[in-house]
């Protein structure tokens, strides 16, 4: 299915394969994107939408067998192995040919997808971690809407105040992407060197203090119990009114919108020291094996361009990486919840991203597993941090 026999660039309207990981609901958004592209004179697109869990499996086997898609969408936390191992064709020059100016886009995701000094993939969105909150429960507890720049202590107090019969104040995932903003906010770091990490630094004072604060919050009982966590995901608890707040990226919006009778909004993350948040971003990559780079670039340019970004923004799922669309009503219109989408844009100023290194997915799993012990099983934080050091550091060194 990868045609193009003549030049490496192929024809601009050659048929290309695009692999995405997408929920069934999201897939519809991408289908309309492809249709719009074709309507706008683009070539044929074969969309391969795979579930979250199967995306990497499919990509690996496809690459191994030389049957890679021309274009694939990937999260920056997972793309490092692909870039480092030569699967990706740097996208900068290709987009330049299409006349796309990267200056129109937010920097943070561009920098996250810059590796070896070159832009490898073109980000389609710039999401960040925010607090989702349930307006009705806040009102019932007599609490005002969270303000931008609220402090950690305020956050904890709010959570406690929200905790009542059958309702918990806030849900916290024991994962490093959720914890990272607080660690940074507290002046800590996850690894010694964001560009070329050699060891984790979660046990160092800044990071440790941030994690301790979370552990303390959990100890107040304002978070769901272990049984509750095992029973239902945080977003489900939030949807059903059992949870007043939880932290996530833009990804939750489509589902929450469809939840009848749920009145929710988003708020900025609380601040422990300096404001911080963590980048969530997916980007379009062109496979190095693609024979239709021209068509691939044309499609990507369309997808991240004005029209493409508008289509995806309307789907609700993404925070556009193109400034002009991000600030347009397509994204910000308060008619569709969350009303305060601006919060996502405000966070951009202090967005940071987790290290881009091939062993990162595994390091993330290790840290997550250990944090779970501390958050859910009450294992002392120091024991857990020591274990993280022991398991994760060799992984970072091995690259």
């Amino acid at each position: 299915s990868a045609p193009g026999e003549d030049a490496a660039a192929g024809s601009a309207t050659a048929r290309i394969t695009v692999q995405l990981k997408a929920d069934p609901e999201e897939a519809a958004v991408y289908r309309s994107l492809a249709t719009a592209y074709q309507a706008a004179g683009g070539g044929e697109i074969e969309l391969v939408t795979v579930g979250r869990k199967d995306h990497l499996t499919r990509l690996s086997t496809a690459f191994a067998s030389g049957d890679a898609p021309d274009v694939f969408l990937i999260n920056y936390r997972e793309y490092a192995p692909f870039v480092q191992r030569g699967a990706v064709r740097p996208i900068g020059p290709l987009l330049k040919q299409e006349g796309l100016d990267t200056a129109d886009y937010y920097e943070q995701p561009l920098s996250a997808f810059t590796y070896d000094g070159a832009l490898q993939c073109m980000p389609q969105n710039i999401s960040s971690l925010v607090v989702y909150w349930n307006r009705a429960l806040f009102a019932k507890a007599g609490l005002p809407a969270p303000k931008a720049g609220w402090s950690w202590d305020e956050f904890v107090r709010t959570a406690q105040a929200l905790t009542a019969d059958g309702v918990k104040g806030v849900g916290i995932d024991p994962s490093i992407t959720r914890m990272a903003p607080f660690i940074w906010s507290k002046g800590g770091a996850i690894v010694d060197d964001g560009k070329a990490p050699t060891r984790t630094t979660l046990h160092e004072p800044g990071a440790r203090a941030a994690l301790q604060a979370v552990v303390d919050l959990i100890a107040t009982g304002a978070t769901p119990s272990k049984d509750q966590l095992a029973s239902q995901g945080l977003e489900e608890q939030f949807m059903t009114g059992k949870l007043a707040m939880f932290m996530s990226s833009r990804v939750e919006v489509p589902a929450l919108r469809e939840q009848r009778g749920l009145d929710f909004d988003v708020a900025a993350l609380p601040v422990m020291g300096t404001p911080a948040s963590v980048l969530h971003s997916d980007a379009y990559c062109v496979a190095s094996s693609s024979k239709n780079t021209k068509a691939a670039a044309k499609f990507i340019a369309y997808a991240v361009g004005q029209q493409g970004q508008t289509v995806t923004a309307l789907g609700g799922r993404t925070v556009p990486s193109l400034r002009s669309v991000a600030t347009s009503p397509a994204f910000l219109s308060p008619a569709r919840p969350p009303a305060s989408s601006q919060v996502f844009l405000d966070a951009i100023a202090h967005l940071r991203h987790t290290p881009v290194t091939p062993s990162w997915p595994e390091v993330e799993d290790v840290i997550g597993t250990q944090l779970q012990r501390a958050f859910e099983d009450g294992v002392p934080l120091d024991e857990v941090l020591a274990e993280i050091q022991k398991q994760a550091d060799p992984l970072l060194r091995r690259r």
């Binding site: 690996s60 191992r85 030569g86 091939p358 997915p361 799993d365 597993t369 779970q372 012990r373 859910e376």
Partner: protein
């Protein structure tokens, strides 16, 4: 039809070793040269199993990420394997689960087959359908159902246990509870083994039961001295197959129900290999693990074969 030579060695001789027991599959007269019949199978196996396996075995000694040609790294992967405590932990988890779930599955499948062997009208039909159904439900749906059944707050199973005064093992929250949950998820999907066992039971000539009946043997006697021994070769193949399925391929429930948790308590070997290969992208080292797992399962599978050989030898002369 007389029961003669043809059933000879259904449970035959020998003392151990993998092929011995299975080679009870009796061979027929000399000149019956029908091996050409095996040719399609052998070609298919070569193309789709053996050559790929050889490639996998080759990859086991390389660094391979799927993007560039594999790089030969000698024994590096083996050295890494030796110190890979995560893998060995996962092997332990798999072993524990297999030890519990394989006998349980066999018991359920064979038990159901024996109970439902004789056609007794509608009850049997319902029973048979019931035994087969769980295997017809797609894995993902099956996992979802169990997530609900085991749910610590809303699940019917903890509720029932609670009502009976049995302490809730914490199916999704504690390590052993999660393993027990996984065992349950796998225990019911025995339709395949059930059908096979049923066919095996039906293949036993009724004359043998008539002989036992006339001799006044009890149903228990007939089952332990005739039915089970004669079904033994099939049960054996089922056991080997089940070990393989549970130890190697059944990571789907682990992935979907517990996702390896809590805290890696249900991180089985195949799930770990799957993550290694496709989430961390290390196809080369994952091959090393796969080949190691192949060897380990081989050893594990030899156990029932050896056991059966011993039993058969004993049974043969003692009646």
């Amino acid at each position: 039809m007389p029961v003669k030579r043809h059933v000879e060695g259904v449970v035959g001789t020998g003392t151990g070793a993998v092929p011995t027991v299975l080679s009870r599959v009796r061979g027929v007269g000399a000149g019956l040269r029908r091996w050409p019949l095996a040719v399609p199978y052998l070609i298919g196996s070569l193309l789709l199993v053996l050559v790929p396996l050889a490639m996998a075995a080759g990859l086991a000694f390389t660094d391979y990420f799927g993007f560039r040609a594999p790089e030969f790294t000698g024994a590096d992967n083996v050295v890494r394997l030796a110190g890979d405590s995560a893998f060995w932990d996962a092997v332990g988890v798999s072993a524990v689960i297999a030890v519990i779930v394989v006998p349980l599955r066999l018991f359920l499948a064979v038990g159901a087959a024996l109970l439902l062997a004789k056609p007794r009208g509608a009850r049997t039909a319902i029973g048979r359908a019931a035994a087969y159904l769980p295997s017809a439900i797609p894995d993902a749906a099956w996992a979802l159902l169990w997530l609900w059944i085991l749910n610590p707050l809303y699940g019917p199973l903890p509720a029932v246990l609670g009502a009976l005064g049995v302490p809730d093992p914490g199916f999704l929250t504690t390590p052993w509870g999660a393993r027990a949950g996984l065992v349950l998820v796998m225990a019911f999907q025995v339709g395949e083994a059930f059908i096979v066992a049923l066919a095996a039971r039906a293949a036993i000539p009724s004359r043998l039961y008539e002989a036992i009946e006339v001799e006044g043997g009890s149903a228990w006697f007939a089952m332990t001295r005739v039915t089970l021994p004669l079904m033994a070769p099939i049960v054996l193949v089922l056991a080997v197959r089940d070990i393989v399925v549970v130890v190697q391929n059944a990571f789907v429930p682990a992935m979907l129900v517990t996702d390896g948790g809590p805290v890696n308590a249900t991180l089985t070997a195949p799930l770990l290999i799957y993550r290694r290969a496709f989430e961390y992208g290390e196809l080369g080292y994952a091959s090393t693990l796969s080949v190691t797992l192949l060897v380990l399962t081989g050893i594990a599978a030899a156990l029932p074969l050896w056991l059966a050989a011993r039993l058969a030898a004993r049974q043969r002369t003692r009646a």
